[in-house]
Symmetry: C2
Subunit: 340 residues, 2 copies
Amino acid sequence: MTNYLKEDAIRRVVFSELSKLDMPEQDAKYLVEGLLHSSMRGIDTHGIALLPTYLEELRGGRSRTKPNLQWQQPLPCCLKLDADGANGVVAASHAMLRAIEVASVYGVAVVSVRNSNHFAAASIYTHMAAERDMIGICLSNSDALVGLENGKEPFLGTNPIAMTASGAGGELFDLDFATSQVSYSKVRRHLNEGKPIPSGWAKDAEGNDTSCTNEFHALEALGGYKGQGIGFMVQILTSVLADTPFDNQLSHLYCEPYDSPRNIAHTMVVLSPAMFDPTNGSVDGFKSRLSGLMATAREQGDGVTLPGDKERQCKSARAQSGIPVSPEFYNWFLELSETN
Amino acid sequence: MTNYLKEDAIRRVVFSELSKLDMPEQDAKYLVEGLLHSSMRGIDTHGIALLPTYLEELRGGRSRTKPNLQWQQPLPCCLKLDADGANGVVAASHAMLRAIEVASVYGVAVVSVRNSNHFAAASIYTHMAAERDMIGICLSNSDALVGLENGKEPFLGTNPIAMTASGAGGELFDLDFATSQVSYSKVRRHLNEGKPIPSGWAKDAEGNDTSCTNEFHALEALGGYKGQGIGFMVQILTSVLADTPFDNQLSHLYCEPYDSPRNIAHTMVVLSPAMFDPTNGSVDGFKSRLSGLMATAREQGDGVTLPGDKERQCKSARAQSGIPVSPEFYNWFLELSETN
């Protein structure tokens, strides 16, 4: 049986718990709203399902409830944030909001974030930009899960890239992808259900393609060597730029103990489309062209689905139903509710 | 029998021909050096093999030998270039060099280019940045060859992305990929040789995977829906930003007549790693970390190949052998040589 939870119930209980942990109200808001944003849009692995782990990280000290965010801005459009071990959603929200602010004035902003933690879904932050008519781009490195071609051990993270941009009339281009062929959670679902893994998803300990769940050792990169290259690209633009550990030096999200910093790096890029408009210098042209492109793409076939379509449909459905959660999460949440 | 041509022979003959067409010497240099750069590194489809077509474009007026490049710089780091129908290599070289100049001062630069043409390989330009210790990123839209999931007609270009960054001791991270699973030229090679197309490369007129060369209708996106999303991302950051035709509205490179403008859009992004360095603010830390990452990756297995490795090996080999060319190209070049 699937249990459903309403947004407001989660908000109330989690805010209360975060307040007991002494997290500032605004940061708690970023954290809860970010996870709800993912869950409402159907990105269940990167939504409220992360709450038990995030709370363990805060309680154990792996992430700090009251980080001392240190900003440097050597030049107007170049920003660096040492997040002092903040929860990743908190760090990335601060970074993106500042990037938006700078890009609103200077047309472009790049923020390099170090000493952060797992930040849920990259699209949480790119949405913040799109809501303000900016193009938001977000990258992060992450612990190694993806194997190299001709390599045996996992070496690259699933290193996500997201980009969101607003069209006219509520249209949204909303891309958020991992640089692995599929996410680890998809493989794990096959592991849990005892189903064979489709070819091209996973490698065994010898680096060969495997469909056997108990031979799983590493994920396959998106489309082979190209995805491997994109994974490196993200790592270079995040951790190499910010001087933080390589993907294969990072501890794993779900590995206890929860008391050591992980030092994950993110990079936020925000562009103001109006500044690049060749004619009238307003954002309206860009928005209407983006909507036109997406409308034309939808005319190409009944089943054509564009980045963001499924998430929008899911959000509408879940506004009615609430967010479906596993029995384990439901019980965890009930317990948390009793103490808050 | 394979024929080989030496760089200097090509330089001499093509410069002379471009000078007859009244192209300014500096622009001719960009064009010839860009194509040689690709050919020497083994990117044969995006090197001197393009010369016959590029010369037809210049003779026919599709691209202009003496374009009136129009720059706008609404804010220090945001630049727009209307290339006035310049040859793509010329337009993109000007754009990247200006981006490097701006990023050297401001840390970041974004240049949106409109009204350009085919620009050969994106890595020609990202190399320019890496040679000056900057991170160079280059995107372009292109005529539609990639089919959408559940769509029948080609809708997206192979919309390339390249990023190059310099490490210490001559190390180079050098990624240049199309957002299709494979390039059209790879499929064409199978067509020419009458060999079946591997599964996952191409679609027939109904949008289904096909291995039959005479059923080829569109390329498959890199890794399926993710590559489709990346193709849209590139198009949005190039043509939607610059207000130029969508991929599926562009004429095809090899379609005569050569007298109508194509209006391709590129985007150059340059970052100064020094500006993002959290400690000493010099580029040395970034360079040494990048080399460290690549060295660690190479230790993962004997056959591990990183973006740029094959190209570097090819360049060494061709410095000795010259550039291998097809009999057709060789004859074309001999004829051109006689008149120059």
